[in-house]
């Protein structure tokens, strides 16, 4: 079995605001295998972006506080590094792609210069060599190298996202964190961009944490999936475990909420209610108020992740319904 290149252990991140403490992330465990693609699915406010920012050491200051946990990269805890060391890790070892390609590029620098800058931040190359490498990377993401002299506003949305990918991959990082990389794009462009990411990952053997709310994107791009709800992983496993077994009631709800193109359903089955307020999380299971299986115990006790076997014996579910089948951790 492949090694874990990135391992998140019991990570809790809270935002301390005037209105109260927003418990954005509560004891999240997640392991990213070498060369694999791991999907993180959740809705707005579930803590997806907080997780990505926590790993990258980009917590908004002064509100964001890491309450507990470790982020192990090659066995080294990233949370213990100082600013200088963390900057070396970012870009060269772990890169990130953001949702909005419109705002993640500098409008007053040419695209080529921006890629060059990210190369030269981490590698000692002459301007000439860096420029050559930048052009190679542009070609790799499917942009003719002559466009290196152009400015971001001369590119369309899909092209901009390719440039962002080029910048992220410029230094051959081992881990790529993609936070909703195609949400702002049209379907045909989304398909192109995802294909580009897939090709490059194969070429460079990059591991990816793909954050999205689109189950279709996950199914087509990831080998492993974690479902996050109210700052907790509620189900995790291989993509076949999750899509085939759908054990957690929330996972089931997500699937029945989306209209499927291949099946005709006259009526969707939504999840009732809303996600709990992250400043006042319930004592018991966070999903219990919206759950059709909820029992008296669910509002009282907090379920832990139960091992469910599965394809690679990694399938885990946070629900009392499976307490008998598996063993608590």
């Amino acid at each position: 079995m492949a090694n874990n290149v990135l391992e998140i252990k019991d990570l809790s991140i809270h935002y301390e605001m005037r209105e109260g403490v927003v418990k954005a992330l509560n004891g999240v465990d997640l392991a990213l295998k070498e060369g694999a693609s791991h999907g993180l699915v959740g809705e707005t406010g579930a803590g997806k972006t907080t997780l990505a920012k926590g790993v990258m050491g980009l917590m908004p200051k002064p509100y964001g506080k890491i309450k507990s946990g470790q982020v192990l990269y090659d066995g080294q805890d990233l949370l213990q590094l100082n600013k200088q060391e963390m900057r070396r890790i970012r870009g060269q070892h772990i890169s990130m792609i953001f949702q909005d390609p419109m705002t993640s590029l500098n409008p007053v620098m040419t695209v080529g210069d921006q890629i060059m800058e990210s190369i030269r931040n981490h590698e000692k190359l002459s301007r000439k060599d860096a420029a050559k490498k930048a052009k190679e990377i542009l070609e790799l993401v499917g942009i003719p190298y002559v466009r290196a002299e152009e400015y971001p506003h001369q590119f369309s949305g899909g092209m901009k996202q390719r440039v962002v990918i080029a910048i992220a991959l410029a230094c051959n990082p081992r881990v790529l964190i993609a936070d909703e990389p195609t949400t702002a794009l049209d379907v045909t462009i989304q398909a192109q961009v995802l294909e580009t990411i897939r090709d490059l990952r194969q070429k460079f053997h990059t591991s990816m944490l793909l954050i999205t709310h689109d189950l279709g994107v996950i199914a087509q791009n990831c080998e492993y999936v974690s479902i996050i709800y109210a700052g907790e992983i509620v189900e995790t496993g291989t993509v076949h475990d999750i899509f085939g077994r759908k054990l957690h009631p929330y996972t089931q709800g997500l699937f029945s909420s989306i209209p499927n193109i291949n099946e005709t359903v006259t009526r969707l089955i939504p999840i009732n209610g809303l996600m709990p307020d992250p400043t006042a999380l319930p004592e018991g299971c966070a999903f219990c108020e919206r759950c059709k299986y909820a029992e008296e115990r669910c509002s009282r006790e907090h379920p832990s992740l139960y091992a469910m076997g599965g394809e690679e014996n990694t399938h885990q579910v946070r629900c009392f319904r499976y307490e008998q089948n598996g063993e608590g951790r």
Partner: protein, 326 residues
Amino acid sequence: MEGNELLRVNHLKKYFQTPHGTLSAVDDVTFGINERETLGVVGESGCGKSTLGRCILRLHEPTAGEVVFEGKNILACDKKEMKSLRSKMQIIFQDPYASLNPRMTVSQAIAAPLIIQGVYSAKEKEKIQKKVAEMMDVVGLASRLVNSYPHELDGGRRQRIGIARALSLDPKFIVCDEPVSALDVSIQAQVLNLMQDLQQQMGLTYLFITHNLSVVKHLSNQIVVMYLGQLVEKASPDQLFHNPCHPYTQALLSAIPIPDPDIPMRRMVLKGELTSPINVGPGCRFAKRCNYAKPECSEASPEMVEVEPGHVVACHMAGAVNKTHE
């Protein structure tokens, strides 16, 4: 044709003058919608689908064409007639954050159309309160939220306010401009179900604009596909999804990621990206990106051809494309 036609759009055009030339956002669009049915309009950003919806309601003044509602060309109506027509034709917007006045409470937002249309005078507070409470109940908003401001509510609840506002005048026809695109999937399903229920209960007719093909398939009786301001295909959901005839429709359908890891995608690769419809030349607008394009495609605009009953497509190669795809 079964059913009564409630709305008909004939050769509708909307051109904008830009510094770079004439932008034909909607160019010669013709279709009809039957009463109590839903027409889905699908297309990518910039294809003119939102402009189309706004032109039908005369929120944008169309450049040319006809919009016939209940047998009457509304583009010929004067201000007064238009104002009374507006109570029958409403719109639900995409962004529930931008479509509500941040300085109006829920009850004020829902009551505003009633007061503007003169259903109640502003002084009849009791009656207005009653109607607001009734509308909030219809769209499933808890009555304790009556005096909340939009920024205190989540996206799903805001969209419910938007729906209540549109329904308060008891309209017949509603333009839904991407009503669920900004919402999370679990909330999206709640709102879609609500809209289906309301259609049944109140006998509504929808023009449902979206880029989400699975949503449009789920809801629509008829679907039109738009590309750069023009209709390229019109069919029932079954026809469109099982037998897409226009190369663009085929590409669009093949790009949807299927939520099943065991069904691999067979994506059709499209050349280039969507351009803006400024100073378009003659010929098919899709020709430059089309895998089947022949020289004649860039010479003359394709006419709408019927390939099977109720299924029309605007493509010179309609028959041929269809066969190669099969």
